[in-house]
Amino acid sequence: MISKIDSKMCLNMYEQMLTIRRFEEKAIELFEHALIRGNIHPCIGQEAVAVGACTALRPDDFMVNTHRGHGNCLAKGADAKLMMAELFGKKTGYCKGKGGSMHIADFQKGNLGANGIVGGGLPIAVGAGISIQNRRTDQVSVCFFGDGATNQGTFHESVNMAALWKLPVIFVCENNLYGLSTPVGESVSACNISDRAAAYCIPGVNVDGNDVIAVYTKMTEAVARARAGEGPTLLDCITYRFFGHFTGDPGKGITYRSKEEMDEWLKRCPIKQFAKRLIKEKKMTEKTEKAIEAAVNASIENAVQFAKESPLPAPEEALQDLFH
């Protein structure tokens, strides 16, 4: 399947996944050095969902994000410098330091923002779908959310409304098998999250969320359906976070996940898997791999440098931006 996909696109996807990985690793390190405050919800391990899904999008498509959203931001075209500056609370960040990790938005790239409220973004994505339908464009609106979010009323209200009006919305579940410490089997009554689509008469698709090509392929179908006016799709992308729920979660989540389970998933690292495949199918040489790695590392260093050198906002700026 991978052979049918343009090599350049493959290398782009690889580079993006690696950028997300390095960005997150750096953010965790900086958090541990108290250069970043609050909390970070790292998406390490889930990069294939972000990149596979966003590669199927156009720059003018909309995206609604979650608290674990750095990967989706980057995949939707965000500038790592402005993201890092936001994490540092600097004036040059995406939200001028007001939002922080959980609230990065990038309207120029169609990124309508992340959310600190689980399930809070789903209705917003539906609204963007209404906007597309009423403005008669062929954009789509993509909503990312976790497995845990599907237990909120907003999930059911949103999917129903989008299905009812055949809105161009793609519901992408980043199903990492846990909502904080709660396993999906102890929180979702359905056998699969994709089964929930049946209640709204829309397609529910199971996707290997650690396979970027699989995500890209299923997403491309869902996007085509949405652009054709046939309505929403629910993609259930099974994946795993390698780190804890947030930076304060002890032992990368060892208090509620077994070491065996964590090790098993580590073997299925979406980035390593993809690199192996690219090399095997001669889409990437080891030399190119090294060059990409070097470029990614440099870009992250650059982002940190930019963030460090940027000024903090002045206290009086606290009162700005409440209204336009």
């Binding site: 609370g89 330091g97 409220i117 809070g120 237990n151 929180s187 979702v188």
Partner: protein, 326 residues
């Protein structure tokens, strides 16, 4: 007597009440094996089992609503809302259902439930995880509101709240969880509606609650060095509200500064200031002052968060102002 943290005080209280009332139910997110994100329910699942310690899906509306349903039908319930900000998701259940059930039924429904939650800024958790919302709930008749400022009070107040036959919103503060107090070994209860004078003083009355008690006491210590003796009143509960203690103090000091972390506009300080002028107008030597957060969401970055949330300095300045000193 032992020195324990606020979190430990809550945990011990809940455990004791679980033992006392064998039907008491706990419900909330990640409260089982994980023990709650602040560790308040650690060990409860093992001790009391999954029927009494119900770790839920992420469904705040159903958490609050089902706590109400259980409470109305004879199961006293303590629901945990991880952050007060998430009350937004459960707002219908809180304000239209929980708060009104007893009254709407002409007193027939009994609603013995506590909603335990936590609020406040200071940790860079940004706009949707740092709010103080007591003023919002104060405006809804039918909810008791308890906001302890230390581990000792938390224990005595939580016991009373759990045993109360009405809905109680029990609001903790995230910056207080690690703070320690000496707790006696024997049981004690603190009645709702009894303010506590945390520091005596004759020059000005500072009325406050929750974490701001700590900040106000720091301000009072600094003011003492300038020769200003501030009395610091910890309201401990907003509903019922102990105005007697406040008025008695104001009649003595003739000046009042109300301090809260929630936004200044529409905060409980407005209500208390109004009641002071209604009841003690003739005793006032200066307008009642209010210190509260700036009327914006809580920003992430530290310099802005500090500028928005009331600091020791803001209290000191407000006190000097009502004393006409600069």
């Amino acid at each position: 007597m032992s020195e324990i943290t606020f979190v430990d005080a809550l945990r011990i209280t809940i455990k004791e009440e679980m033992e006392r009332d064998p039907s008491l139910l706990l419900i909330g997110e990640d409260i089982g094996r994980y023990g709650g994100i602040f560790g308040v329910t650690k060990g409860m699942l093992d001790e009391f089992g999954p029927q009494r310690v119900r770790s839920t899906p992420i469904s705040e509306s159903a958490i609050i609503g089902s706590a109400l349903g259980a409470a109305m039908t004879g199961i006293r319930t303590v629901a945990e809302l991880m952050y007060i900000d998430f009350s937004g998701v459960a707002m219908d259940q809180i304000i239209n259902q929980v708060a009104k059930m007893t009254y709407m039924s002409g007193g027939a429904a009994k609603v013995p439930m506590v909603i335990r939650t936590q609020e406040g800024g200071g940790r860079g958790n940004a706009a949707q995880h740092s709010q103080c919302l007591e003023g919002l709930f104060l405006h809804i008749p039918g909810l008791k509101i308890v906001m302890p400022s230390n581990a000792y009070d938390a224990k005595g107040l939580l016991k009373t709240a759990i045993r109360d036959d009405n809905p109680v919103l029990f609001i903790e503060h995230k910056l207080l969880y690690a703070a320690k107090s000496a707790i006696p070994d024997e049981e004690y209860l603190i009645p709702l509606g009894q303010a506590d004078v945390k520091r005596k003083g004759k020059d000005v009355t500072i009325v406050t609650i929750s974490y701001m008690v700590t900040v106000a006491l720091q301000a009072a210590a600094r003011l003492a060095q300038e020769g200003i003796e501030a009395e610091v009143i910890d309201l401990r509960t907003l509903v019922p509200l102990d105005m007697e203690t406040v008025l008695k103090s104001v009649r003595n000091t003739n000046r009042a500064v109300i301090v809260h972390e929630e936004c200044r506009t529409g905060g409980f300080g407005a209500e208390i200031a109004a009641q002071i002028q209604e009841e003690a107008f003739d005793f006032l030597d200066a307008p009642v002052a209010r210190v509260g957060a700036k009327d914006v969401p809580i920003p992430y970055t530290e310099p802005l968060e500090r500028a928005v949330i009331p600091q020791e300095d803001d209290i000191v300045k407000a006190v000097r102002k009502v004393l006409y000193r600069s």
